[in-house]
């Protein structure tokens, strides 16, 4: 009896992100039933897709125990360069995307070199890149908005087989790819190992620098891709593009159960739900026509309770998993 209850509790707690998500849906359903339409939920996923992609990139870095504050600037630089290429040199969408990804990867590589070769703390290295990176982006754009051509931005609202919007499709592919990479490749497993303990990883024969570098490069790559997906929806790149997105991405990842200390966390369903969760709060508030001044207050309160629930869960699970010495009758 007791055992069964424990099991139930642990199932509930283990699926906390999912549960909170459902609770949020119910809450909004009660306040503004309109917000529960299928279309709205699809919108939540669509709008969350770009931050979700960035958050997945961030997850790689967080899993190694690092942090990347430069993703917002990375998004800006890579999108600006891709946009200018299309605008000025009429590059096609495909090559432009490729260019965007290359820029993102280069950005990530610089972070990787700073962190692994020069042994600078990830926080400081990526902070510096965040400041410099935006400067580089502004140098290219001169702070002006860079528009993507219409055929490209059309993809933002187009749907695959008129079923799923492309941003969601790309998001799903990224989630699948990242999950495959993390769980079914040696690199992925080594990323987890590195996050558990770098020294142990080194002793176990893992090339720690290479794995860490890979995480930062992947993060850069995904940041650029997320930026591209976002711009395709937005139509153009403004000077403020990507500002503050690093915190959203980190929040999404952490809400999804990724530990800031490394080694723990899953892309699916954790990070996906984390990203959609944040977006869903915002959509719900707009749908319910809540006073604008209250938006940040409510959003913060909801996220706070999510984090609180998560920490309660961890404490409880720790208690549960502690080995009993004796069997009580």
């Amino acid at each position: 009896m007791n055992e069964r209850r424990n099991k139930l509790v642990s199932i509930l707690l283990n699926n906390m992100p999912m549960l909170l998500f459902v609770l949020l849906l119910i809450a909004f359903g009660a306040i503004a039933p309109e917000s529960l339409q299928y279309q709205n939920i699809e919108n939540a996923f669509k709008q969350a897709s770009y931050i979700g992609i960035v958050a997945i990139g961030m997850t790689f870095v967080l899993l190694t125990g690092g942090i990347d504050l430069s993703v917002g600037s990375n998004m800006y630089v890579s999108a600006v360069i891709a946009g200018l290429a299309m605008q000025r040199y009429s590059v096609g969408a495909g090559p432009a995307l490729l260019l965007c990804l290359v820029v993102g990867a280069v950005f990530g590589t610089i972070n990787a070199i700073a962190v692994t070769k020069l042994r600078i703390l990830p926080f400081v290295a990526t902070l510096a890149m965040m400041v410099s990176g935006r400067g580089v982006g502004l140098m290219f754009s001169k702070s002006r908005a860079v528009a993507f051509p219409d055929p490209v931005t059309g993809l933002g609202s187009a749907e695959l087989f008129s079923l799923l919007p492309y941003p969601i499709v790309i998001f799903a592919l990224v989630v699948g790819g990242a999950a495959l990479l993390l769980h079914r490749t040696q690199l992925g497993r080594q990323i987890y190992a590195l996050g558990y303990d770098k020294e142990v990883a080194r002793k176990a024969g893992i090339n720690a620098d290479r794995v860490q570098a890979a995480a930062y490069i992947l993060c850069g790559l995904f940041a650029a891709l997320g930026g591209f997906v976002s711009v395709v929806q937005l139509g153009n790149v403004n000077a403020g593009f990507g500002k503050g997105d690093e915190f959203d991405a980190i929040a999404a990842a952490v809400l999804g159960g990724v530990s800031l200390f490394g080694g723990v966390g899953r892309v699916f369903p954790g990070v996906v739900l984390g990203a959609v969760f944040i977006q869903a709060i915002s959509i719900g508030l707009v749908s319910a026509q809540v006073d604008l001044y209250l938006h940040p207050l409510i959003t913060a309160a909801v996220i706070f309770s999510a984090v609180l629930a998560d920490s309660l869960r961890n404490t409880y699970l720790k208690k549960l998993s502690r080995r009993n010495i004796r069997l009580e009758v």
Binding site: L69, A114, L118, R119, I120, L121, F123, V124, A125, L127, A128, M129, M130, V131, S132, G133, R134, G135, V136, G137, L138, M139, S143, F247, I250, A251, V254, L260, Y293, L294, H295, P296, L297, T299, A300, A301, I303, F304, V307, L308, S311, L312, N314, T315
Partner: protein, 356 residues
């Protein structure tokens, strides 16, 4: 290798010393002075110093939280909220057209200004409310981290967005002014060579120094940051220590808010919006560890000086606005790189493990 020991002894001593960042800052300053002679002018030095104090107040608070192994992202929003609340206590008059739809209109504020408008008690009570509000928000952060065991990064990220939202909500986007002259004098007045901000922050720094370096509490801060489990078993009241660190950080943010509000002559709901990374950057450049257990008041001073001198010199350069960002990032990276090299060098020179 032989050369190392003779010729390079002096540079090595500098590089390995605790004052490396100061040396770096001074060198940087001298180079800049060569290019811009007015760097060392009286007015510019006065500016440099006056920019140092409020930032130092924030970094001191941040340092306590970093020492116990946390991080406080909410400092800037604490500044905004306290700035608004304090101003609402002492504002001398408020335009009804801008404040009539304020949630606190008729409660705390009215046409005559803030709650204590005109009263001789206005400024002292306002200053007190700055400090109390700041410390209590810090206390909330601390309780969430210590008692509810929530990760500090997330707790303070959430309180950051909550309290900056609250500050804007409380004023409905308006800046609260005019403030009494005696308050503004805190930011601008001078008592001979000593300015009130200097006095306040130096006292704060001394207090921080005494607490950290001389008191039991200080030893407890380090112990908790280095190994919370050992600290707990050794009889350190770990939770109380963590809560105190965050409360102190909130208090320091409030002091920063007083200085910034006084110099900007208004209670501002957006005060210090983009300051956070400067604060943490300065702390980390100064050598305060993000992993806890390491930090000194002097290091905080050096980190702040570095940032202030860097910003000041960048302000001199006739560059495009974007190049300044690029250079600023590069210099931060460079300083971090030098510091990393230094750490490696000092590891090489560490006393031998278990050497007889």
């Amino acid at each position: 290798m032989k050369l190392d020991n003779t010729l390079l002894r002096w540079p090595k001593a500098v590089v390995l010393s605790n004052h490396f960042i100061l040396v770096l800052t001074v060198l940087f300053f001298l180079v800049m002075w060569g290019i811009y002679p007015h760097m060392a002018g009286r007015r510019n030095l006065a500016n440099l110093l006056s920019n140092t104090w409020p930032l130092l107040a924030l970094v001191l608070g941040q340092m306590f939280v970093l020492i116990v192994g946390g991080i406080d992202l909410s400092q800037t929003s604490i500044m905004a909220v306290t700035s608004v609340l304090g101003a609402m206590v002492m504002a001398t008059s408020l335009e009804p057209t801008r404040f009539a739809h304020n949630p606190l209109w008729g409660v705390l504020i009215s046409e005559q200004g803030g709650w204590l408008s005109g009263s001789p008690w206005a400024v002292p009570v306002a200053v007190l409310s700055f400090v109390v509000a700041g410390a209590s928000i810090g206390l909330l952060n601390g309780l969430a981290v210590a008692k509810l065991r929530m990760p500090p990064f997330m707790v303070t990220l959430v309180t950051m967005s909550f309290f900056s939202g609250l500050a804007i909500y409380l004023t409905q986007s308006e800046n609260v002014r005019p403030l009494p002259d005696s308050f503004i004098a805190i930011g601008k007045g001078t008592l001979g060579p000593i300015s009130p901000p200097m006095l306040i922050v130096v006292v704060l720094a001394l207090l921080a120094f005494v607490v950290l370096d001389r008191s039991i509490l200080g030893r407890w801060f380090y112990a908790v940051g280095q190994n919370a489990e050992t600290a707990k078993i050794s009889g350190v009241p770990t939770k109380r220590v963590i809560v105190l660190a965050y409360a102190f950080s909130g208090l320091c943010a409030a002091v920063g808010a007083i200085l910034y509000s006084a110099r900007l002559e208004a209670g501002r709901p957006t005060l210090g919006r983009n300051l956070l990374l400067d604060v943490i950057g300065a702390a980390v450049i100064g050598g305060i560890s993000l992993f806890g257990g390491k930090g000194k008041v002097l290091w905080a001073v050096y980190g702040v000086l570095f940032f202030v001198v860097l910003d000041n010199s960048l302000n001199k350069m006739p560059l495009d606005f974007y190049s300044i960002d690029i250079i600023k990032g590069a210099v931060i990276l460079l300083a971090a790189l030098l510091d990393a090299l230094r750490t490696r060098l000092s590891l090489y020179h560490a006393p031998l493990a278990g050497a007889p």
